[in-house]
């Protein structure tokens, strides 16, 4: 089953997608990842992790309605 989630893009992901956020329907993180790469093929060149509701994703998981998914390229602080 598909849920509508909010996807946030940061760093290089924001540059590649040209948007800071959007809503996407997805049932789990793996299908969301595939959907994002289909929408933005340039992101296949980018290594990124995901956070679900502000927590780094350690393994693929199901998504709930209104979850907030952040697309996180490698951190560059310091």
């Amino acid at each position: 089953m598909s849920s509508t989630v909010k996807v946030l893009y940061f760093g290089a992901a924001l540059e590649m997608t040209g948007r800071a956020e959007e809503e996407i329907g997805a049932g789990d993180t793996a299908s969301l990842r595939r959907d994002i790469l289909d929408r933005y093929p340039a992101m296949k060149e980018l290594t990124f992790r995901m956070a679900v509701n502000r927590v780094l994703l350690k393994e693929e998981s199901l998504l709930k309605e209104n979850d907030i998914i952040a697309i996180l390229p490698p951190f560059e602080g310091g």
């Binding site: 940061f10 290089a12 956070a51 502000r54 996180l72 951190f75 560059e76 602080g77 310091g78």
Partner: protein
């Protein structure tokens, strides 16, 4: 500061002097170790970096800082206070973008924990940069 971990623009000398006073109320903290990170005017493909624009996932940064502090305190039992502040927005070359301060009873844990905190900030703080030439 609205957000105690992220500050808009450079971390100014005035702010640094204020941050230095945190922990002054703890007379048991005999050692204070500080790391200050500044924007470097690197040359990239023949162009000189004049500034860096930092962006952050601020909603997540607070939790990550809390986790870093918790981890550092668990690893170094003598540590009493860990302060982490990172810039967002534009910071010019030569200006400060990262401030870390660790207070401890003694120098060994203060210095080692400060280095450990720095490595964890690099690894865990959701911050990105864009060079400006």
């Amino acid at each position: 500061m609205k957000n105690r971990y992220l500050v808009g623009g450079p971390i100014t000398p005035l702010l640094i002097s204020e941050l230095f006073t945190l922990g002054n109320d703890d007379a048991g903290a005999g050692a204070v170790s500080v790391f200050i990170g500044r924007v470097r005017d690197d040359e990239v493909n023949g162009h000189r970096v004049t500034a860096i624009e930092y962006s952050a996932y601020s909603d997540m940064a607070g939790n990550e800082v809390d986790e870093i502090v918790k981890t550092v305190k668990a690893a170094f039992s003598d540590v009493r206070k860990v302060i982490i502040v990172h810039s967002t927005g534009v910071v010019k070359a030569g200006e400060t973008s990262l401030f870390i301060m660790v207070t401890a009873g003694h120098r060994d844990h203060a210095t080692r924990a400060c280095r450990h905190t720095l490595e964890m900030v690099k690894e865990r703080l959701p911050v990105w940069k864009k060079e400006i030439y």
